[in-house]
Amino acid sequence: MGILKVEDLKAYYMTDVYGIKRTVRAVDGVSIEINENEIFGIAGESSCGKTTLMKVLSGAVKSPLTVVGGKALYSFGDGSLDILSLQEDELRKIRWKSISCILQGSMSVLNPVRRIYKTFRDFVEAHQKIEKKRDFMRRMRDHLGELGLPREVLKAYPHHLSGGMKQRVTIALATIFKPNVIIADEPTTALDVIVQRGVLQLLREIQKEQKNTIILVTHDMAVHANIADRIAIMYAGRIVEEAKASDIFENSLHPYTQHLIDSLPMIGDKSHRISIPGAPPNLADPPNGCGFHPRCSSVMGICREEVPPLIEVGDRHRVACFLVSKESGDGK
């Protein structure tokens, strides 16, 4: 049973300044199903709509972002609820308790003039009453202890901590209520490799322990290789390939996925590597047909006219490319 089912979700940025209308199709027909107890990776370049998708999924839709169509159904045990139809006060109830977020610049979440435990208290108080301060402090210390973080950090100010420690403190903050779904949007992008490893290990341990679902967004395929169970590749607001991590790395079918993996250098291998030619499309004025066709090396006539459908080619392996749909014969 999937914990999250997204159906044909469309979310556009619509602006109207002095009569000039502009529509940026950041999420353009995304359908995914995410299981309970898994780490689901979403990969793609910047400006492919990853962050917008996460905004919609966490219920943080603010103008000019508008949800044009589709559904995002969560099921937390008792029936399913569409996050797009909830009112603000209903959203407040599930935020942080059922769905929490870890963002890229989450070091800046911590208030620089308040000690860490006060920030923790602010977050907890927003959702439940704190009866006794001592019990609360014990609970926080236990929580940090479980995650292997030193207890002294509760009394520290954010500037006392290193970047990696701050990021792990925000992870601790995001997991206080043991949420069912954790949305991590580029949680390690600004960090160096050692800290990145520490943060990712922490995420993986939390997932093992609490058995919740983590949606991990990052453009770094090497991170996905290390941590994700299933991976979806996003390009120009659409999912172009989705499969188990092993299929993505060993049996990828979309030319974009292959490019993403092949462009990464490795220690011990000095062979020449090239990045994908061209630049990601402008989503305010996307190319006709397949979004990737101007950069694709195996482009065909049909790619310029029609959008390839996302078809199932194997065990939960879906791909949107005419190269594949042609081979499988039906083209649907």
Binding site: E45, S46, G148, P150, E152, V153, H160, L161, S162, G163, G164, M165, R168, A190, L191, D192, V193, I194, V195, Q196, R197, G198, L200, Q201, H219, D220, M221, A222, V223, A225, N226, I227, A245, S246, F249, E250, H259, L260, I261, S263, L264, P265, M266, I267, G268, K270, H272, R273, I274, S275, I276, A279, P280
Partner: protein
């Protein structure tokens, strides 16, 4: 002059920052007696690698003479950079040694056209007189990074992608025809998929234009890909320095080993197994007596906590670690 054959020689430079007030303040040694040389016979790419807070950027700013040294000296082709006083010499040095910064979106003023930077650089360094001759200079520089004046002219930073902007940033640095580029994390803000285009550009510049590059990064995979020599920095110290194949294929210093292991590989089935220690408080580690890595090192010994290790010459490289003290007693540098 002894150093005239060297492009750059950095001799035991140290930078101490004072933090806080007179009584409560602390001193932080951001760069501690760093020594390295770059030859001028063959252009090379020299990588400075290490985690954040290891002093990489401070070292780069010291070489650019952006901040003052506490002690030590830096020679560029035999002249002491730290003693440059007059404007003419300073301009001469700046023309030869050019920086490239980390975030291309912050390098350029969003309200200014990108090409104005290129024209201003050409005129300020006297490469071209203002007028039509400048167009040629700017176009040449842009062509060497795979762009053209046509693509860039009249455009604002938001109209170009991160990768394109970083190329413009490199083109600007190339206009004064430098012999050394100092690139501080040039690809960390660029998408993984576009990263290789910038990295390949550096390789090409070295091979075709003979420009030497100091490449600062925490990404060991790209460092291995392009550089000739590498220095691993930790809390202001060079802990290991040598040819990149040696240092990264068979690392000797425990820190280099951990750093190498932590690079995620785009291959399945090579997940990390053992946990690693992270530093909690940065200031604590800087103030540590003895080896700065002793708090996190898996093979820590008693001596590490008391004495700062010396540099030992082991297998074509220098290693600053007590583990090699006995075996390589005679090769102290």
């Amino acid at each position: 002059m002894v150093n005239s054959e060297k492009l750059l020689s950095v001799k035991d430079i140290t930078k101490v920052f004072s933090i806080g007030g007179l009584l409560t303040g602390t001193r932080l040694t951001a760069v501690n007696e760093v020594y390295f040389e770059m030859g001028s016979a063959n252009p090379e790419i020299f990588t400075l690698a290490g985690e954040s807070g290891s002093g990489k950027t401070t070292l780069a700013r010291l070489i650019l003479h952006d901040i003052e040294l506490t002690h030590g000296s830096i020679f560029y082709r035999g002249t002491d950079v730290t003693r440059i006083k007059n404007r003419k010499e300073r301009m001469g040095f700046m023309q030869r040694v050019q920086p490239i910064f980390q975030n291309p979106f912050e390098t350029f003023n969003p309200l200014k056209r990108v090409d104005t930077y290129l024209y201003a650089t050409a005129v300020n360094y006297g490469i071209a007189k203002s007028g039509e001759s400048t167009d040629g200079v700017v176009d040449d520089a842009l062509r060497s990074v795979g762009l053209s004046l046509q693509e860039v002219q009249g455009r604002y930073p938001h109209e170009l992608s991160g990768g394109q902007l970083q190329r413009v940033s490199v083109a600007r640095a190339l206009i004064p025809r430098p012999s050394l580029l100092i690139a501080d994390e040039p690809v960390s803000m660029v998408d993984a998929s576009l990263r290789m285009s910038i990295v390949n550009l550096f390789k090409e510049l070295k091979e075709t234009s003979g420009v030497s590059i100091i490449y600062i990064t925490h990404d060991l995979a790209t460092a291995y890909y392009i550089s000739d020599r590498i220095a691993i920095m930790l809390r202001g110290n060079f802990v290991e320095m040598g040819p990149v194949e040696k240092v990264l294929s068979e690392p000797l210093h425990p820190y280099t080993k951990i750093l190498k292991e932590s690079v995620p590989k785009p291959v399945l089935g090579e997940k990390w197994k053992d946990k690693i220690e992270l530093s909690t408080l940065e200031a604590k580690e800087f103030a540590r007596v003895g080896c700065k890595f002793a708090g996190r090192c898996p093979s820590v010994m008693d001596i590490c906590k008391k004495e700062d290790p010396k540099n030992f010459l082991v297998d074509e490289r220098t290693v600053k670690c007590h583990l090699y003290a006995k075996q390589f007693k005679n090769s102290i540098l």
